[in-house]
Amino acid sequence: MSTDALPALPVLKATDFASDQDVRWCPGCGDYSILAQMKKMLPSLGIPPHKIVFVSGIGCSSRFPYYMSTYGVHSIHGRAPAVATGVKVANPELSVWVITGDGDALSIGGNHLLHAIRRNLDMNIVLFNNQIYGLTKGQYSPTSPLGKVTKSTPFGSVDNPLSPLSVAIGAEATFVARSIDVHIKHLGDVLHRAAEHRGTSFVEVYQNCNIFNDKAFEYLTDRDTKADATLEVEHGKPMIFGKNRDKGIRLNGITPEVVELGKGISEDDLLFHDEQLEEPTLAYLLSRMRHPEFPVPIGVLRSVERPIFEERLHAQIADAVKKRGEGDLNELFQAGETWVVK
């Protein structure tokens, strides 16, 4: 993403990123908070709205672009990563954001997500995970827990859920993070980190759908439980959590375990977070940690630099132009064996 800040640019505010459209999510929906944090974060990038494109699929979450004053495409279900790929390759100067839901990204759109991530275009993907299909009024999604009773599973779902972060890491992701709709400061920071990452950043945001799947993440937001249920990972820091910050994660062979600090166990015995490990095994391990056996990691799990798709593609073009000169149509037409009729 190019950040060629214009010198004369006025300082932008969150409201500069708001469109004139009425926001049409259900009152109380977690999407509002994510929208607010996005609008609050964007001015910090120094990119004017007209250099930003939001691309989405279909779903409640995917209405997002309508509410931004940037360029936007509310495309078709599941295809946002592919549309965004076209936008970014066509104009690498643009800051490109994909907004998607758990159904949009992981059900119908799973393949495009996979391929966008592995190609590592310099764009940002934010997945609103409410573990339900909101817009179609409450069917289970690929992230809904087993046994979930929904409109389409009155006897409980029989599908093993996917972990979005594991999928992303399995697909060669260079930046993987998680946050929560109501942890507004954390969310803003994570979005900022995602924006600054060179390459595809993939952010999962746990989002409450108060109509069809209310309180799915209550354990992470409830005042009483959240500290023990959340592991906020930070680069270079030991993995400590708990209300009293007295618990930690230790590695036993290749398997993580929860330990209590004190009682002969010190911080140095704990796993230290390293976003930048060459191999993504640590990030993968973190992505496996689920409530209630483990606290749920939030923050940046992985952030490494790798070659960027559109840069390499345009480098080949630039190189060809340099070597062969700007393509000339006459030359193109005349290529190969020709003959003259008089």
Partner: protein, 619 residues
């Protein structure tokens, strides 16, 4: 242009045209032999048309019927439009090739066979009960030239110390040499090709040269070949020419449209026979700033192209029938977004996976109707390999003028077939004007669905200050582009989208006919059947029959004068390589009792079957 024609004491016969087919195992280099004969014939000034016929398998076991590969060339001293119904000379490199191709040879035609391949195993693989070279079955019907190509080729290259396998690979050059002698073709172009291609392996280059000359000399010396044929140059319009296959023409058309409109190509695609070569060609044109994107599937291919169009590039996607089926939903999005986009369908035999390597024109109704809702898209179709170039220019002009996705139909026959192309001078090609609104600084809200006199909306590019806007697949309010569910607005927008496409007819050139402007029969065709229909019609017109031929390049909308035209003939006949798709549209639109002549066999019409059919309506 020099030739190396030798003086020869043999009898020479002048022909107006000749048709030759090389056939052999996939590994025998028949496509190369065919291409060389094509280029050479074009260079000596003939008009040419070709028809390659690949096996469906990549490389079926050597010698099997499934592994036969063929290439047919028609070259003439006059203007021609088809690769020919039947062949005057057939070169068969093995029994399997003989078996699957012999029916194409005219009675009394020349059959050149490589005798060495007719051993027990070869005959068995071709399911021959007895050796047809020996049981007399062929000699009665054809002039059979039996040559042990393998042996002679091996001898010719013996001095070079190649392995036997390498030596045998030169056999196709021997066959070429022989045919070149037969039709009095120069060896120069092929020698140049050898130098170009094998320059880095001088021993191989030399072997191929030797084999080529051996073939030529064999013709000169063998008593079995008593006649050589001369096909004079055709009186083609003056200019510089090259031979071009349809898919290459499509690729060049895209690059040309890009340069003429000042918008770089973004070609999002997923490989599929017979469309893949467009990708292969475009991928080479990096210094023309062509972006090729081999997507994860056809849906990503088209949606990425839509993204590229939104961002201001020339978004193009290409595929064949099954892949086009997958793009239907996304085409609907493009229609809603009203963005320029080209969707190329190189049609092949269907339904489903069907006959991937064969030609057909059965995707017309899919192009017209294969989307949910009222979802009109302009549809155009190329009529010949060269026309693939020009149709792309027209399609992009329509797409950008009217802000609409456009479907381009070609087919396997056009895609792989070749003909001479009189290379246009770039300065003669019409510039494609494209406008983008400039930055807006007055703070007035931008209206992404305001419309110009053609009902086109503005193509505002991301990155432009003051023009930020959101588009999407939900119905939108006229002018503002906001999401809108109101009844009257929906009616208005559906009508607008329909009218915008229908009104393109106002700017289309009127439909022309070849032949009388009223009479007994109008033959109405579209797409790749142009050549065969035009030839058949011309032949009958020359016989004084009351037949005319109109060929549609614009399928949606159709030219404004078409309805009137259809009423001027007693009969309207629509030959199609499908079960009557254009016919349904013509009947439904113009209420004309158009008849059909339909064939769905994975191959083009022959001129003679068309003439027979046309004659049924003529007296």
């Amino acid at each position: 242009m020099s030739t190396t024609t030798l003086e020869t004491p043999k009898k020479t016969v002048h022909l107006e045209s000749a048709t030759v087919r090389f056939c052999g195992d996939s590994g025998d280099g028949m496509q190369l032999a065919g291409t060389q004969l094509t280029t050479t014939s074009a260079i000596v000034g003939n008009d040419v048309a070709t028809f390659p016929d690949f096996p469906a398998e990549i490389r079926a076991p050597r010698g099997t019927l499934a592994g036969v590969s063929g290439f047919q060339i028609h070259f003439a001293a006059k203007e021609i439009f088809t690769p020919g119904d039947e062949v005057d000379a057939l070169v068969a490199m093995n029994p399997a090739a003989l078996k699957t191709n012999i029916d194409a040879l005219i009675p009394g035609g020349l059959l050149i066979v490589n005798t060495e391949a007719f051993d027990k195993k070869g005959l068995e693989q071709a399911h021959f009960a007895s050796n047809p070279l020996e049981d007399g079955s062929l000699d009665q019907k054809y002039k059979v030239i039996k040559v042990d190509m393998t042996k002679i080729t091996r001898e010719a290259v013996a001095a070079l110390g190649l392995s036997q396998k390498e030596a045998d690979r030169c056999r196709n050059f021997f066959a070429m040499g022989l045919v070149f002698w037969l039709y009095d073709r120069p060896l120069d172009p092929t020698l140049r090709y050898i130098e170009d291609k094998f320059g880095k392996r001088p021993d191989i280059a030399e072997a191929n040269r030797k084999a080529l000359n051996a073939g030529y000399n064999y013709g000169e010396t063998t008593e079995a070949m008593a006649v050589k044929y001369i096909v004079d140059s055709a009186h083609l319009p003056p200019g510089t020419y090259r031979s071009i296959v349809g898919n290459t023409a499509t690729a060049l058309g895209l690059v040309a449209a890009s340069k003429l409109s000042g918008h770089d190509v973004f070609y999002g695609t997923y490989p599929i026979t017979p469309a893949s070569d467009i990708l292969h060609e475009l991928a080479r044109f990096k210094n023309y700033r062509v972006m090729t994107f081999q997507a994860e599937d056809e849906i990503a291919a088209i949606t990425s192209s839509i993204g590229a169009s939104f961002a201001g590039k020339m978004g193009v996607t290409g595929s064949s029938g099954p892949g086009i089926a997958l793009k239907g939903e996304a085409m609907g999005l493009a229609v809603m977004l009203e963005l320029p986009l080209l969707v190329i369908n190189v049609q092949r035999g269907g339904p489903s996976t069907g006959l991937p390597t064969k030609t057909e024109q059965a995707d017309l109704l899919q192009a017209m109707c294969g989307r949910n809702g009222e979802c009109p898209m302009p549809v155009v179709a190329a009529q010949s390999p060269v026309d693939c170039f020009y149709i792309v220019l027209e399609a992009w002009k329509i797409a950008t003028r009217y802000m609409t996705p456009v479907i381009i139909l070609t087919d396997g026959y056009l895609a792989n077939g070749s003909e001479p192309w009189k290379i246009p001078d770039v300065s003669e090609l019409e510039t494609i004007e494209v406008k983008h609104p400039g930055p807006s600084v007055n703070g007035e809200p931008f209206m992404p669905y305001a419309r110009d006199e053609r009902l086109a909306r503005p193509w505002a590019l991301p990155g432009t200050p003051g023009l930020t806007h959101r588009v999407g697949g939900l119905e939108k309010q006229n002018i503002t582009g906001n999401v809108n569910y109101e009844a009257q607005n929906h009616q208005q927008m559906v009508d607008l989208r329909a009218k915008k496409v229908a009104d393109i007819a106002k700017e289309l050139p009127p439909q022309t006919v070849e032949g009388p402007d009223r009479g007994q029969l109008l033959v109405l065709s579209w797409g790749g059947t142009y050549g065969a229909c035009r030839t058949a019609a011309r032949n009958l017109i020359a016989q004084g029959k009351s037949v005319a031929h109109a060929h549609l390049r614009y399928l949606n909308p159709m030219p404004a004068n078409l309805g009137d035209l259809l009423t001027r003939y007693d009969h309207v006949l629509i030959p199609e390589l499908n079960k009557g798709q254009l016919r349904l549209l013509i009947r439904g639109t113009y209420l004309v009792d158009a008849k059909g002549f339909n064939k769905v066999q994975g191959k083009p019409f022959t001129v003679s079957e068309l003439m027979t059919e046309f004659n049924k309506y003529l007296n």
